[in-house]
Symmetry: C2
Subunit: 102 residues, 2 copies
DNA sequence: AGGTTGATTCTATATTTTTCGAAATAAGAA
DNA sequence: TTCTTATTTCGAAAAATATAGAATCAACCT
């Protein structure tokens, strides 16, 4: 089993690429319904294979999920995972601290 | 000038490594006063040169700042930058969305 | 069945990242 | 000034990531 730090680092790393970050921010606009891969492709203007690679990375890190509908694949954000991720950064804030920060 | 996406992707990428994430979470416990590099080193148990490389990466992405005091270098989190970063992910949430999510 | 469309996998190459020993710098103590 | 301590920079090798053309797969339409 991979540790908590490792899983979260992997998620941050997945988001740590200009294109994937752009993808996530676009996907996030689609709510729980999601956005089709083709729609994403016209948004980011990338060869399908490259895009697919990036989407897979986001899926593997489970920051987005996918749902098939006929030939289409709809991608949507994993809102819970994202929230947990951002919370994780602040978890121990000021435990030893001296001045206000969080 | 690098774009907003690029700067934020760089910050996420900086945090997207198990060791650097561990470092940040440790640094965050130190409040605005910060934590000395040597202290961080005993926490992560890494050769000084490797640690230094990782710290530089965090500095370059400006998720942490540094302050010299004699021979010591104190590292502290850039709380504002971190907050801006996490906010950025949700910025356009549900703009086209149909169901509740954010 | 045959053709088209939406999307992923295969494969290969180019680039970036990670790691750490050794050398360098710089402050403080003896 | 010499020695130690705190930390960074240099340099070089190993590992991971990014990119995209070509091949593939699956669903839909006629």
């Amino acid at each position: 089993m991979t540790s908590k730090v490792e899983r979260h680092a992997d998620q941050l790393s997945a988001l740590g690429h200009p294109i994937r970050l752009k993808i996530l921010r676009y996907v996030v606009t689609g709510g729980t319904e999601g956005i089709a891969a083709g729609d994403i492709q016209t948004h980011v203007e990338l060869p399908a294979s490259t895009l697919s690679h990036h989407l897979k990375r986001l899926i593997d890190a489970s920051v987005v999920s996918t749902r098939a509908e006929g030939t289409f694949l709809y991608y949507s954000a994993n809102y819970d995972a994202l929230r947990a991720l951002t919370d994780y950064l602040w978890e121990d804030c000021c435990k030893r601290g001296t001045k206000g920060c969080c």
